[in-house]
Amino acid sequence: MTLLWTDALIFLLLLASVSIGFYLHDKPHIQRPLNKIARSNVGMVSLVVLLFFLLVGLLDSLHFKPKQEGSNEIISLLDYCATPLREQSEKTYSAPFATTLYSKEMIAKDGDRVWDYPRLVYGGKHLADPGKGKLGDILQKAGLGFLLGVAFFIVFLLLSAVISYLRYGATPAFFALRPVMLTLFTLIVISAIFSYLSLYYHVLGTDKVGEDVFYQAVKSIRTGLVIGTLTTLIMLPLAILFGILAGFFRGWVDDVIQYLYTTLNSIPGVLLIAASVLMVQVYMANHESAFTSVIVRADMRLLFLCMILGVTSWTGLCRLLRAETLKLREMEYVQAAYALGVKQHAILLRHILPNVMHIVLISVVLDFSSLVLAEAVLSYINIGVDPTTYSWGNMINGARLEMAREPVVWWSLSAAFVFMFALVLAANLFADVVQDAFDPRSAGNESFK
């Protein structure tokens, strides 16, 4: 078991959210919005999708050293499950479900040298004659995968039914059960089909060095989640603390904080990011003994990228929060709290902070998507994540050249796009529902007569 820095932070974050959830779950006024989320179809479906991504990300965050002589390699649990995918790489590009490479090569055939598409080493190697029966084979394998998925799903269904029977005596009625089950069914079946097929084919093709694109896209989930969550984790305390303090105390506190963020804002963010990434590279070069394996180095770079992205991106939210706090501090309930002798820090925590949280929530989700995209932009100028790290940004960056090829290599870009789209869309929809549910003034909370 090896613990990388980002792994530790991810599990810390998970622990924190679980304990917050545990602390809040029996508070009656929190239960109501939570039940409202549980009843919302969109909310639960997007939550299931998010949790699925999260599960993959967590599987990919459990790192260990395989028992192999002489190797200094660190792999994750996900890598271990996907060993065939990881190791069966081709020579170069091949299209999804292809049995040959994407471009012609000189190959030796029956003693002759022929200019033709060479067969793949792994993709579809079980087929004797790929020209015939490929479609049938794919359909047959997909059907098998489907059955496998259904079996998994039934096992899962039985398990959850037993658990919910033991816990509640019956299925809880507030639950948006059918859409959740449908989503779960779809997710499980699709992943079963893909996994089963990927034993025999490269379902999303291979990239320039022959690596499986499906594997890359799945591995990128963790990078996306890390960049989205850890950056937010670094950015939020800065933005909330400075924004609220500036708005609440005004005077010289406000002047200092405003000065700080206007200064920071006028330095190009790319410059700071480039400087910090170079700095960490130099540091790692000087302390080579501490960073022996590639994955440790890549992880350090990812962590630093998150940090510097967080430090450069808090100003926008800070400004919003300052303005909102300026408005809130003049509200009559804040004055009433003063009149009741409530201390200033209690006013900040009880009256100001909860009333700016909706802004925080919205901007966090919007930032989450823009951060995943920012990673792509930074990879483009070589100051993003390490080139050895799998990320949608790196995939999209690579697609620059692939799109210029004739014929076009479209699968890397499409795979990155579909995965990123699913994650960001689910996050956006879920945030919408959460915000609605926690807004006490929104419709659906019947008035009290």
């Binding site: 009656p28 006024h29 509200m331 009559e332 309930y333 004055q335 009433a336 709290a337 003063y338 009149a339 009741l340 002798g341 409530v342 201390k343 209690a346 009880r350 009256h351 909860p354 009333n355 006490p440 003034r441 909370n445 019947e446 008035s447 009290f448 007569k449």
Partner: protein, 545 residues
Amino acid sequence: MALNTENNTMTEPLLSVENLSVRFGRSQPVVDDISFTLYAGETFALVGESGSGKSITALSVLRLLPNNATLNAASISLQGENLLKLSELELCKIRGRRIGLIFQDPMSSLNPVMTIGDQVAEAVRQHFPLSNNGVQRRVLELLQQVELPEPQQRIKDFPHQLSGGQRQRVMIAIALAGKPDLLIADEPTTSLDVTIQAQILALLKSIQQQTGMALWLISHDLALVSTMADRVAVMQHGKIVESSSSSDLFTQAQHPYTRKLLAALPSMQSGLNRCPEEKPPLLQVDNFHCHYPIRKGLFKRIVGYVRAVDGVSLTIQQGKTLALVGESGCGKTTLGKGLLNLIPGSFGSVKIDGLDLDGLQGELLRRQRANIQIVFQDPFSSMNPRMLVGDIIAEGIGALHPDIDAVECKGRVRQLLQQVGLPEDAALRYPHEFSGGQRQRICIARALAVRPKLIVCDEPTSALDVSVQAQVIRLLKDLQKEQGISYLFITHDLAVVAEIADDVAVMYQGKIIEQGSVGQVLFKPQHAYTKKLISAVPVLKKEVA
């Protein structure tokens, strides 16, 4: 068109509405099957509490309802022409031209980046094809008609350079631009001071006499309606429950709801029979000031002060109520908040129960906060929307009596809710689930929680309907009787003063110009301003008779 109205006899109605119903979505109808008629040259008033559907009725006549509303009516006819059959384009020619409309809030009804001259001119051009000179002449004429002082100069002013009353005059000028046969005035004076209100009402009357147009007044204020209207219809829950001539309605109301409204109306007479019994003083304020600095320039140098409260002295007796009366901007709210030390820049001697509050700071100030509490005007912004009512009430207990444990605190909250007449389960609900009157009760409970000796009530009833206002005032009086609390009751409504106060102080431009017992100030006022204020209050006609 103008000739047409004159030819009309009283038998043919100007506007008649038959079986009008309006509903939003699939909910209960907001306006429920109402019919009424309006004759040329008369003043018709639609009276009701907030949410009774009176504004929606007016908007549905002009078909200005929001998109999700559905309108059903047998007919809405203007001088025999059925408005329901007109297309949107044809109706546009009626809006403003034959039916003018004035809204409540003159702040948001005028465009802040256009001069008032341009805004009136826009309305004139809309209805009459005049030359530029003609338009200018007509604008000036209109501004003279609404008695805007110095219309020649004012024509180039922007809305923010005008006072509230002047803005409402401009709004009336815009409504009159089309020479309408009918003017709908939707709460035209609700956001104005009482002296300005009297001026605007007098103006509306005189314009009506000049032009012979009909006036449809929509109001919640029965006293105001009784001085203005020829005929009155009372609305409740979207229905017209009673409709008769003004003199009949106010002397012999038939419907129980009308009677309830009339009974809830605070009356000036009630101030007469209060016994002026001397009690020891609780709060003594001497030479109190609140000055706001005016800062200018790069280094925000202080160049002067706004003297919002300028040398006020007053005394409140134990278990009694002092009403602080004045028009908006006179500094009464500033004084109230200044007494609680909520405003920086206030100074002067404040003694409560012998304890000198002046100059207290930090922890010392915080500890004595329990003595004076405050109830605010706006029941919507005075409670944190994200806190439970129970937590809101318990907040002061937690801050000032940290020794009280959670169980006892819960018991106190339950008891307080009961005292202000709310159910126990209210503690686990959010403020937005309550009506305005209920929220004000919660605010009172919050103030009571720390057992104050004095509560500053800053217009606690002016955002409430008249029947709810009566309930809240009764609650305040009951609490005073039970617990011997004193009130500093800040208000602009002299009738409420008569209901609740023992003593009155009249404030004008940061100074107190007259104070004394209720009977003395309200019925034998000495100062010219007090006299003007009292004479401007609309009084129910039957009382005068």
